[in-house]
Symmetry: C2
Subunit: 460 residues, 2 copies
């Protein structure tokens, strides 16, 4: 009854959450012994033990299990209980322990489970969030390379019923390794006696289950396919991802970017389905961070309190000037963020963008500056406001400040996404409000410095 002792020890370790120790013990135990001891445990404990095995170890243990125990294990792997145990692990343990499941297990898992069960199981396969592994389905037909077109069609007629999509058929070798794919249309058009490998149109384009979903999007766009095969690192076929999933992914990537750009965390669900308080928290976090940053404006303003007291007229243009910087910054940031997301721009393009934005900022700032100058002169002459005898100097101060602030805004807005990408963050986090806050503080300093230079001896 060694197995009973072993298995009850495992159960103890699971209940006291001593993952490290459990994993060490499992590593030291032979696959066949593990398989035998697993006969004594059931349900979630069985699944947890299995999930802690290394990839190769798991493949061996699985092959030692009798087929009814295999099925039981596969079902156990997708239950809510197991999910909650594994979710309860510290995140770093999880990444350390969770290796990709062996292809044989993954494939069977995908086949055995209902679509609802699959939702849980995908998380448990060990593929990170937003990876291709989370989107794959097992609804494909595989054929062997030595088949002729007519044999392949015969095979499809036998096994294809109920498959979600038959548009592309996959050629696998005897070990389940993906060799080629071939479109059903090509099979139908081909001479019935042709061997299927001669019909396939290379190059084979495939994804790794660990690839990021953005990579999938990129390949779908480049190759205009309706489905792409997914393999593990060794080239074993696991499943397929289809074009309609890509549409959902493209939309949700854009949604995330738009929400971040607007200055909140991504909601990750439709607006009306997010709980009110959960939404307030997601927005409140960023809003408070921005507020704390924006407090620097009060500090900056207090440096110039004396100047404001001497020339109150200076304060009148503070909102106009800092918002112009913020607006030009949001413009630049949104253009660059989107271009980076669509891979129109790469990190190495930063200097070309810098040059472009420098010129744009200069042009835009000069234009706004001229409008601002004439606004002040015109209001004075039309007696709409009285800016005092030095209104021309005030106009020049506003003009020069706008050039500086808009240029700074444009450069900050365009370079920040690059900086974030460079350090591994999401460029979309350089939201319009974030850029605006940064530019507000700097804009104030630029404005008052310019004023000190131009108005010294007159207003100041």
């Amino acid at each position: 009854m060694i197995e009973t002792a072993t298995s009850s020890l495992w159960e103890d370790l699971i209940h006291s959450q001593r993952w490290e120790e459990l994993r060490a013990r499992l590593t030291a135990t032979h696959s066949s012994d593990i398989a035998e001891a697993m006969g004594q445990i059931h349900g979630k404990e069985q699944a947890v033990v299995f999930r802690l095995l290394s990839r190769d170890h798991a493949a061996q243990v699985f092959s030692y299990l009798p087929s009814d125990r295999q099925k039981e294990l596969l079902r156990a792997l997708s239950t809510d209980e197991v999910k909650s145990v594994l979710d309860g692990m510290p995140p770093d343990d999880r990444t350390r322990f969770f290796e990709e499941l062996p292809a044989t297990v993954t494939r069977q898992l995908l086949e055995v489970l209902s679509p609802e069960e699959l939702k849980n199981a995908r998380q448990l396969l060990g593929y990170p969030e937003h990876s291709v592994g989370r989107y794959m389905t097992p609804d494909y037909v595989a054929i062997r390379p030595e088949m002729t077109a007519s044999q392949a069609l015969e095979h499809i007629r036998k096994v294809g019923r109920g498959m979600e999509t038959l548009n592309v058929i996959y050629i696998l070798d005897e070990n389940g390794k993906l060799l080629e794919d071939v479109r059903l249309g090509s099979l139908v058009l081909a001479d019935p006696q042709t061997v299927v490998t001669a019909i396939a149109d290379p190059p084979l384009v495939s994804l790794l289950a660990t690839d990021d979903r953005e990579r999938a999007l990129e390949l779908f766009e480049k190759y205009d396919r309706v489905a792409l095969p997914v393999t593990d690192a060794l080239g074993n076929m696991l499943g397929i991802v289809t074009a309609d999933d890509m549409l959902d992914i493209a939309e949700s990537e854009a949604t995330e970017d738009i929400q971040k750009l607007g200055g909140s965390e991504a909601l990750e669900a439709p607006y009306m389905q997010v709980g009110l308080w959960s939404m307030v928290r997601k927005r409140g976090g960023w809003l408070s961070a921005l507020f704390l940053g924006e407090m620097l404006t009060a500090t900056a303003m207090s440096f110039f309190e004396q100047e404001i007291a001497r020339a109150v007229v200076l304060a009148l243009f503070v909102p106009l000037i800092i918002s112009s910087g913020g607006n030009s910054g949001s413009q630049a940031a949104s253009l660059i963020i989107r271009a980076l997301a669509l891979r129109e721009l790469k990190l190495r393009d930063w200097f070309r963008v810098f040059r472009r934005e420098l010129i744009s900022g200069l042009a835009l700032g000069s234009f706004l500056g001229v409008i601002g100058f004439f606004r002040i002169v015109a209001w004075q002459h039309l007696h709409l406001t009285n800016y005092g005898q030095h209104y021309v100097l005030l106009g020049i101060t506003v003009w020069a400040s706008l050039i500086g602030v808009v240029m700074f805004g444009t450069l900050a807005g365009s370079m920040l996404p690059f900086v974030l990408r460079r350090f591994g963050f999401d460029p979309a986090a350089s939201s319009a409000p974030f850029v605006a806050t940064l530019v507000d503080v700097t804009g104030l300093c630029i404005y008052f410095m310019v004023a000190l230079v131009i108005l010294r001896g007159t207003l100041l």
Copy 2:
């Protein structure tokens, strides 16, 4: 030689750009006479005359033309010369004169032309920009409803070579009207003797060529198809649109929204491919408009110039308060714009959103207000800044103003997209900078009004 006289009159009218008169004359002429007179003119004039005919008239004239003249006309319709003549028409004439081409002509046009020629022709088919008609291709196989599965496969083998996609096959009646579609996979799986109409899986989902591309996106998402058929208003099959086009459309719709949200016109090309000056113009337009709006802040500030002179300390918090309103407005606007774009929210949901945002705004504003209050009290006690003896009242002013400003920002940001949609504009035009500008002006007024109430008799 009546035809010669007629045709040279037409040419005169075209060269002097008297479209109205030409169209009137064409309307009064019998189809067979037009067809005969068209024998005398060639190239762009021929195409322009044809394009000015009403839809039914054009169908008749086309049927009177001998087949070599038909081909000549189809080619002429897609040349750059014709494009530039028609592009030169005043836009209102163009919309008035350009009816959808008859289905017979459209279908032949799509079939005869090379992909490059198609690019021009699509614009000339009379379908508005961003309509489904601009994306359809003729690469599909049509079968007749009385065929059996094996006859259909036989037919596909005959005509399908070189077709871009064979994944879905379309069942048309003898007049080219779309009846059903059937997946190639289903044809392969079916008993060879079954009639194709029994294999089709209803409901038939199809698009009108005049539908907006967003409608196509909606149907693709809802029905998970790899291709959808496109018909004219009478149900005649014109072409198909495929899932890979949808991916491009989804991305470019999101790009437009992101660029507008950032406060510039949509660039309509990758960032680096847009000319520097064209980009500066696109950004400068909005930036100037925002600048003009933001000028109102200077006006608003000048109303309170006396108060600022009396209590300069009030000016210190102006940027902090107005930017908090702007930030909460951008957040709300971006969430709502995206939810409207993804059809998660409809116009009629505005009141539910209003209620939700009212509560969110109150909660967020109160929270920021409390931070602001303690910032002032703390800085005073830590002797970082001296806000004077009434610093607690100042703190209360900032607290109350933040609640008002953030609530207003949240409501303005969330309601503006609905208002724009209601009046037929693009909700994304309520960009973050636009909302911020609106909220800046109002925020200033709220702040100084609150100050007048709370600080009367002390600072003011």
